[in-house]
């Protein structure tokens, strides 16, 4: 079974709509805001799953009964940006929900999101204070497919693609994999985490390193190099280690990674697209996939957001 291409007819696990209480709301450096929500159902994590003997991959839609309990890295919440009690009155701005990938699970029942402060939706959410309630749908999307026997995982993130990286790395580390995390950005300010540049050696992100990953950070402004170039320099090493790659970031970065990994290193990419329903119904957020009979599209919200790079039609994907 490959991401974005469930085998046979996927029986859909129920999507949940719930009220999430804001526990913490904090302005971060750069253009970001951190929200910690109380979402007990989503926060029931790997421990529960393992106790029930569920094998990897950790794709909630395939978990059967109680399918939405817990969440997988790469999945997102679809948030109504206005107070839940105002649902009966149409807002003039931010009429649609906004998708935010799950950035971290914080035991016992917290779910953390990184909100980029651009657009009215992000600003409305950043104005939430502890005690406020958010109307949320989720977890939505398929999530990364994780192989429990994986020895080496390479996580590549560009700029704003960092939001779901902590969750992904935490899960990969749990499976026992060695995790290499390569992060690129235009400037340090573009990154929602603290950047540390030691006098000698590579720049790093301590918060990501603390999760158990070997982190390399490069910015175009300081190091003058793209993260894809770092990947290319280490391709042989990753290939020899039997690594799998997980990538989140701008499309140009994802496309380049697809080109350089080729057949040797399996690559899962997280794609973004303008969304309306978040459920696969409206067909707004589609991306082109390879097909032998004319154009074919899959939805980012339901078939994705995680796709095997081999099924994406990169030539037809808008930059």
């Amino acid at each position: 079974m490959s991401a974005g291409q469930p085998k046979g007819k996927a029986t859909r696990a129920e999507v949940h709509r719930f009220l999430a209480e804001v526990l913490e709301s904090e302005r971060l450096p750069g253009d970001y805001h951190r929200l910690l929500l109380r979402a007990p159902r989503l926060a029931e994590v790997a421990a529960l799953r393992q106790a029930q003997g569920h094998p990897e991959p950790l794709v909630p839609r395939s978990l059967g009964e109680g399918g939405s309990r817990g969440a997988a890295p790469g999945q997102f919440l679809h948030l109504w940006c206005h107070p839940p009690e105002q649902l009966d009155h149409p807002p003039s701005a931010a009429l649609l929900r906004r998708p935010y990938s799950i950035s971290r699970l914080r035991p016992p029942d917290g779910v953390e999101l990184l909100i980029r402060l651009r657009g009215v939706g992000g600003r409305l959410l950043a104005a939430k204070r502890p005690g406020d309630q958010l109307d949320a749908l989720g977890p939505l999307g398929n999530g990364f497919r994780l192989d429990a026997s994986l020895a080496t995982a390479v996580v590549v993130a560009g700029g704003s693609g960092l939001a779901p990286v902590p969750f992904l790395i935490a899960r990969l580390v749990e499976t026992g994999a060695r995790v290499v995390c390569l992060v690129g950005a235009m400037t340090d300010e573009e990154v929602p985490f603290r950047v540390v540049r030691p006098r000698v050696g590579r720049a790093t992100l301590p918060e990501i390193e603390a999760l158990g990953a070997e982190v390399t950070f490069v910015s175009e402004a300081v190091e003058g190099i793209l993260v894809t170039q770092v990947v290319e320099l280490r391709l042989t090493e990753f290939g020899d280690a039997g690594a799998e790659m997980f990538a989140i970031g701008p499309r140009a970065m994802l496309k380049r990674l697809h080109e350089v990994t080729g057949e040797h290193i399996p690559l899962q990419v997280s794609l973004e697209e303008r969304m309306a329903c978040g459920l696969g119904a409206c067909r707004s957020c589609v991306v082109p996939v390879k097909s032998e009979s004319g154009p074919a599209y899959k939805t980012v919200c339901r078939d994705g957001p995680i796709f095997d790079s081999t099924i994406v039609d990169w030539e037809r994907l808008e930059p």
Partner: protein, 311 residues
């Protein structure tokens, strides 16, 4: 008062109440499963299907949010009538209410082919989409012309005994002759409005934001314009009119009913509130109870009748 009866009849389809889900927003039904009690509503209209599968318009982008609304140009992406009947309809029929199909085509014959295949299915009614603004051929091209609209409805009428609902576009100078042509050709009801033709420009790229160039505007932004079209259409025909366009709450729905609609459809609001239909239905019930109305009949078109006075 427990005697409140909100029943609405469209041809031989009986709905337990006037709140329906509009075509397009609800996909094939399974996408929203579990998010609300959709079986409580009067009917659910599934996404428009055509004889052959359609890939739809190119992405990036197909939708844009606008003030109190959204513009979409999906382009009738659908699995085709055969896959619809085989793979999609069975799941939708598990909702305990009327399931309606919506069909489109590039010729009256294609509409008729779809209707013929649906005739032996368990759909409760067939909506004829002659109003999609986002396809080059067919779609709105029929709905802006009374003669062409009538031809499509006649072809469908000849192909099925199911109740048929003609869905009209507001992008016309006068909607009355088109509504009358559909009624004369055998439509059991008319529904309106589909989206208003619209456009969004990306000022950084200096290009239309939607890949298709143009799209259709829906949401609360269009509601007053939609109420007006329903008012015009309801005065023109005797068959039931189903009103829609930006309905967000019960008061909005009642505006359409007072303008002449026998039933209403909810669409865009479901993206914000998947249980909006249930919320609106509860509000309509409350209104009827508060005003001591045993049925909706006294309300339907009440605002159109010059002599009517509020209680």
């Amino acid at each position: 008062m427990s005697a409140l009866d909100l029943t609405v009849r469209i041809g031989d389809m009986t709905m337990k109440n006037p709140v329906m889900v509009a075509s397009g927003v609800f996909g094939y039904g399974d996408e929203f499963m579990g998010l609300a009690d959709y079986g409580e509503l009067g009917a659910l209209v599934l996404k428009t299907v055509t004889r052959e599968p359609r890939a739809g318009n190119p992405p990036a982008s197909r939708t844009a949010e606008t003030p109190a609304g959204m513009v979409n140009a999906i382009g009738l992406e659908n699995v085709g009538i055969e896959a619809f009947l085989r793979d999609k309809l069975p799941a939708a029929l598990s909702y305990h209410t009327n399931i309606c199909a919506s069909i489109a085509g590039e010729s009256p014959g294609e509409f008729a082919d779809c209707a013929r295949l649906l005739d032996s299915s368990e759909v409760a009614a067939i909506e004829i989409n002659i109003s999609c603004p986002n396809v080059r051929k067919g779609g709105m091209a029929f709905g802006v012309d009374a003669t062409a609209s009538g031809e499509v409805v006649s072809a469908v009428r000849a192909a099925t005994g199911k109740p048929i609902i003609a869905k009209l576009t507001p992008n016309v100078t006068d909607i009355a002759p088109i509504a009358r042509a559909c009624e004369a050709a055998g439509a059991d009801a008319i529904s309106l409005v589909n989206t208003f033709a619209a456009m969004v420009i990306d000022v950084e790229r200096r290009r239309p934001l939607l890949a298709a160039g143009t799209g259709g505007l829906s949401g609360p932004a269009i509601r007053p314009a939609a109420v007006y079209r329903v008012w015009q259409a309801a005065k023109a025909v005797k068959v039931p009119v189903i009103g829609m366009g930006g309905i967000w709450n019960a008061s909005d729905a009642l505006e359409f009913i007072l303008a002449g609609a026998s039933a209403v459809m909810v669409g865009t609001v479901l993206y914000a509130d998947p249980s909006a239909g249930n919320r609106i239905l509860a509000g309509i019930r409350d209104y009827c109870l508060t005003h001591n109305l045993p049925t909706l009949s006294p309300l339907i078109g009440a605002a159109v009748r010059p002599t009517s006075r509020p209680p």
